[in-house]
Symmetry: D2
Subunit: 343 residues, 4 copies
C-alpha cells in the first residue's frame, strides 16, 4: 500500500516562492513537487538543478495543461492572483495562493463565485499566521474559554526598516500599508473574535522616514480602529520602520483575562548580559518568525486535499480581510471613518 | 541654620487624600503638614490622631484664612478643583491639585488666566506618572536621542475589574473613561513627543462587562487615535475590566528605536514556576504601581516652591490634556472624528 | 543527476526511537530509512504500516548483514550501545547512537579504539543539544568573542515530576541522575568552554520526593561542581521533580558578559494575563524543547556522511562526558571530591 | 500626645554610612538621628551641615557616654563590630550593626553571650535583603505553602566588575569572597528553608580577571554547595566580575513549585528595542537594588525597639552565616569538604 500524495506545480519562484518550493520538496509529507513555472530563466534553472523538479513550464497555461499536476501553488504578484485562481479552477486544479487574495473587491467576489461552482476543489489563501504554533495555541485557549468572552484585539505587523527604502518603489502596486501588512492582523482579529463582520473603520498614519510614500498617499506607520458588528473592537498598527527587527504581535482581551502572542520578538532562547544591559536578539524578518508556520500551512493544505476535509480558512475570510483593508486605505486617505455594510 | 520648609494644608482626606497626607507627613523632606481640611468628621479625626496634624479646619475658607498655611494640597472632587485653585491663588497660597484640572474647558482657561496674575505662586496638577522613575528614565533617553526622533506613542491605562461595578455610579460625574483614565496617557504622549498640540482625534469603545454605563454614553473599554500638529500619532487604550490587575504601559516609537515602559505590570521581582507555568503577580491598583511616583511628585513640588524654580509641568499641559480628553469623549459619542484648532 | 542519499537502518522503536524514525522518514533530506529492527512485534508493525519501511529485521545481526544499509541509527538501551556500535563498525556501517555512549568507561575506550581503526566510518553520539538553534547561536557568539573569555558554566537539566515515579524502577540501570541527565550539561559546558578536561569534581544531592531512589544510592535532585584543567568551573543541577515542566537552561560567564540559554522554558510565544498574574506555559518534556534540534542533529549526521566532512562532536567528547558523569556519581556516594587525571 | 521616637547615634559615615544616615534622618518615621560619630573631620562636617545632626562625637566612647542616645547604628569596619556592639550593650544602648557580625567565630559567640545578658536591649545585624519587598513576598509565599516543601536554594551575589580592581586591596581584610558576599545568600537560604543548620560544605572558585587575589588565596568567582541537617541543599555563587551590573538573585525549589527572585536585574520598567535587540538596563550596584530594603530595614528596627517586639532575625542567624562563610573559605583553600557539627 502506497501512501497517498498530492502532485503540485508551483508558480512563481521569487524569494518567497523559492522558500515555498523548498518547503514542499523537503518538509511536506504527502506533497510531490512535480512541476514549476516561472517566466525567469534563472528561476527555472534553480528549480531544475537545486530542487530537481522534473517538469519546468515557461508559462502558466502550460502548467495548467499538465495533467499530472493536481494542485497549483501560486506565489505570484497580487495583481495576477484572481485570474490565476479562476483559471486553475477551470482546469480542475486545487489552489493554494499567497495572500492577499486581491486588492480589488470585485475580483474577490468573482473568485468566490467561481470557487463555489467547484466544491470538490480546495482553494486556500495563505494567511500563514493562522498556522503558527503560538497563534494556534492562543486560539485554542480562547475557544476553551480561558479568557472568557473575547471583545478586543490589538495586532501589529511591524517590519524592520530597510534603509534603502526599496519597498517605496512597490508602494504604488502594494495596495498601501494596510492591504500589504495589516491584512494578516485583520484576519487574525476576526479569527480570534469568532469571525465578526466589520461595521466601521477609521485609520490614520504618518510618514516617519520615507517621504517618497507621500506621492501615492501611503504612510510608513499606520494605525487603525475597526468596529465589528457584535460590538468587538480591533486596533491595528503597521510599520515599515522598526529598528530592532520584524515585530508581529497580537493581544486578545477577554472578560476573564487576556492573551498576548509575540510580545517580545525573540530570535531564540538566548539572553545576553553585558555592558548594554540584558538583551535578546529579534527576528530579522517575517520569514524567521514564521518559518515553522509556512511548514504547517503547506502540510495543512496538502492533508485537507488528500483527506478531503474542510480547510481552516475560507475564501470569505480572505474577502473580508480585503474588504476591511480597502476601507482602511480609504479612511487614511479621506480622514473620515468608513462605514461597512453587511459583507 | 534651620533648613527651609513649606507649610502645607491638605484638603480632602478620602482614600487617595490620606495617602497624600501620609506621604507629606513622613516621606517628603521640606514639607510640613500643618493643617488639614475635610467636611467629614472621621477624616478630621484620623488627621488629628494618626498624623498628629495640629490644625483641622472644617471648611475650605477657614483653611485659606489660616495664615501659617503657605500651600494647599487639593485631593477633592474634580468638580471643585477650578474654584478651589482660584480661591487659593487669591488667598496667596501655592497650589498642588490632583488631576484632572477640570472637566470643563472654560474653567481650565479661567484657572490659567488667574494663575497668570500670580506669577510668584506655583500651581501644579498631579500628573503623577511624570514623576515615576521609569517614565523619567524613558523621557531622559528620548531627550538624549537614543531612539532618534520620536513619532508615535501608544499608551494605556487599564484598571483591574471591580466585579461590584462600584465605579459605574460615578460614571455620570467622572467625565467618561477618556477624561478619567486617558488624561494620564494624553499627558505622557505629549511629554514624550515634545509637547505637540492635537489636530484631530477619533475614539471608539465597547461595553464588555458593565451595561450600566450605556445610560451615560460611557464604555468600559475605549480606544482612540490622536493626530498631532507635527504629524505625530498617539493611540490610547483605557479599560476598566482587566482580570490581572492595574496595567499601565506606554510605548514610544522613534526613528532609531522604541521604548516600552511597564510592558508587564510586575508586582515585584518574584517569579513563580508551578503547574500553571512561569508567572509573576501584577500590581493590583494604580497606587502600588505609582507609590514611589507620588513620593517624588510631592518632593518635586515642595522643592520647586522652596527654591523658586520652574515646575516640570504647566497649567497649559493640564489644559491641553483636558481639551483632548473632551474631544475624545465627543468622538466616542458621535462616531465622528473631532478637529481641534490651535489650543 | 540524482541527489545523493544515505540508506539508514534504525534500531529500537520505543518512544524516542519512533520519533527518530519519523524524523528520518519525513524531515531529513538525504536520508532514506530503508530498514528497521526491533524485537517487539508491535514496533515492527508500526514501522511497516505507518512509516512504510521496506525491510523489517527482527534481530540486529540481520540488519547488519543487510547490504543496502549504509548507516545504523541506534535508539537502544544504553547497556547495548558499545557492543552494537562495535559490531556496526565491523560490518562497515556508519553509526549514529543515542546518548550516552556507555555507563562503563572501559567500554567507551574500547569503542573509541575500534572506531579509530575505521577512519572512513562516522560515529556520532546524540548530544542533541549541540544542534539546538539557541545553543548554536550562543556557541557562535562565544567563539566570536562577544562575552570575552568564558570561564564558567552553570547548566541544568530538570525534568517535570512524574507523580507515578515511574523512573524510579529504571534508577538501578540508568547510571544515576548525573549519568542520565547531567551528561548533556557536561558536554555543553565543555563545548562552551573550549573542550577542557575535568580535574576535580564534587557532587551532592537530596531526595525531595522519591524515597525509592535511596535503595540504589541515587537522588532526585543533584548538584555538582566541576573544576577543569584550565581553571574553568562548571556547576550542574539535575532534577526529576519540577512542577512546571522540563527546564533545561545553561549560562556561560565570560570576562566581558554572560549568556543565558533557556532561562524561562517557554512552551511558545503566548503570554496569559488573568487573575493568577502574567504567565507562560512551559515545555512539558525534553522532546517539545528539542524537537527541532533532533531534526538538525539527523540532518547534520546525514550531511557529514554524504559529504565526508568531520562531525561536530567526537567520541572523545562522549567519553569525557561519561568519565565526568561517573566521577560525579562516585562523589555523590562517597561525599568526597574525586580527582580526575588526564583523560 | 506626642508620637514615640527613638534617639539614634550613627557611627561611621563612609559611603554606606552616609546613606544610612540620610535614611534615618529623612525616611524613617519614629527615628531621631540625634548624634553622629566619625574620626574623619569631613564626615563630621557633612553630618552637621547637610543633615543638621545636633551632636557630633569624634570618638565612640563619647557617643556611648551621650545619655540622649538610645540606640547606636554601626556602619564601621567589620573588624570593629564585635567590640563596638559589646561596648554599646554595656552602655545600655540598642544596636543596629551592618553585616557581617564578625569574621571571627569566637567573637560572634562572645557578642551573643553578652547580648543574652541584656535581654531588654535589641541587637540586629543588617541582613538587608530580608527587608526587600520581593524577598519578603517570596518568603510569605513559601510559608503559605505555595511551592510545597522547600528543599533547595540557589542564590548568588554578583557585583559589577570594577576595572580598577579597587577591591583587591581590601581582599586581605574582607574575609574573602564568601564572607564578604555570600553571607547574604547563606542567610537568605536558611531563612527560606526554615533556618536549618549546615552539615557539610564544599567550595571552589577561579580567578577570572583579578590575579592580585591569588596572594591572599581569594578568588573573584566562587561557587559552593552547602548541605543542611534536614537534607536541604544550597548552591551559592559570588562574583566580582559581572559586566552588566549588580546581579543578586535567589531561587527556591519546592516539591510543588519554585520561586525565583531577581532573575533579571532590571534597573526599572523600561525596555529598549533597537538595532541591538530588546534590552533592559541593570541595577549598577547593590544600593540601587536594595535602596527600599534599607528603608524598610531601618523602619523595622526602629519599630521593634519602640514597640518592644521581637526582631525578624537573631544573633544566632548572624552567627550561623559567619560559621558557614568561614567553612566555605576553608574549603576553597583546602580543596576538601568541611564538616560542620551542631552550631
Amino acid at each position: 500500500m502506497e501512501h497517498p500524495s498530492l502532485k503540485i506545480g508551483i508558480v512563481g519562484l521569487g524569494r518567497l516562492g523559492r522558500r515555498h518550493a523548498e518547503n514542499l520538496a523537503r518538509y511536506t509529507p504527502g506533497a510531490q513537487l512535480v512541476a514549476a513555472c516561472s517566466p525567469i530563466a534563472a528561476e527555472c534553472e534553480w528549480a531544475r538543478d537545486t530542487l530537481q523538479i522534473g517538469t519546468i513550464h515557461a508559462d502558466y497555461a502550460a502548467l495548467l495543461a499538465d495533467s499530472q499536476v493536481e494542485a497549483v501553488w501560486l506565489v505570484t504578484p497580487t495583481s495576477l492572483h484572481a485570474a490565476q485562481i479562476i483559471a486553475a479552477l477551470h482546469a480542475g486544479k486545487h489552489v493554494f495562493c499567497e495572500k492577499p487574495l486581491s486588492l480589488d473587491l470585485d475580483e474577490c467576489h468573482e473568485v468566490a463565485a467561481v470557487a463555489a461552482r467547484y466544491p470538490h476543489l480546495k482553494v486556500m489563501i495563505g494567511f500563514v499566521r493562522r498556522f503558527d504554533a503560538s497563534y494556534r495555541t492562543a486560539h485554542g485557549r480562547i475557544k476553551n474559554g480561558e479568557i472568557g468572552k473575547p471583545f478586543m484585539v490589538r495586532s501589529q505587523t511591524c517590519d524592520k526598516n530597510d534603509p534603502d527604502g526599496f519597498f517605496v518603489q512597490f508602494a504604488p502596486t502594494s495596495g498601501g500599508i494596510f492591504l500589504d501588512c495589516s491584512v494578516h492582523d485583520i484576519d487574525l482579529a476576526r479569527w480570534m473574535l469568532g469571525n465578526p463582520i466589520a461595521k466601521r473603520v477609521y485609520a490614520s498614519g504618518t510618514i516617519a522616514m520615507h517621504p517618497g510614500l507621500a506621492a501615492c498617499q501611503d504612510v510608513d506607520n499606520g494605525v487603525a480602529i475597526c468596529e465589528f458588528d457584535g460590538g468587538q473592537l480591533a486596533v491595528f498598527y503597521a510599520s515599515r520602520t522598526m529598528a530592532h527587527g520584524h515585530d508581529t504581535s497580537t493581544e486578545v482581551m477577554g472578560t476573564a483575562g487576556s492573551l498576548a502572542i509575540g510580545r517580545n520578538p525573540r530570535a531564540d532562547r538566548v539572553e545576553i548580559a553585558d555592558a548594554s544591559g540584558v538583551r535578546n536578539a529579534c527576528t530579522p524578518s517575517f520569514y524567521e518568525r514564521f518559518e515553522d508556520a509556512f511548514h504547517h500551512e503547506a502540510q495543512a493544505f496538502v492533508q485537507a486535499v488528500l483527506t478531503d476535509t474542510p480547510l481552516a480558512l475560507s475564501l470569505d475570510d480572505a474577502l473580508e480581510a480585503t474588504r476591511i483593508g480597502i476601507a482602511l486605505r480609504t479612511s487614511l486617505q479621506t480622514g473620515q471613518p468608513v462605514m461597512l455594510g453587511a459583507a
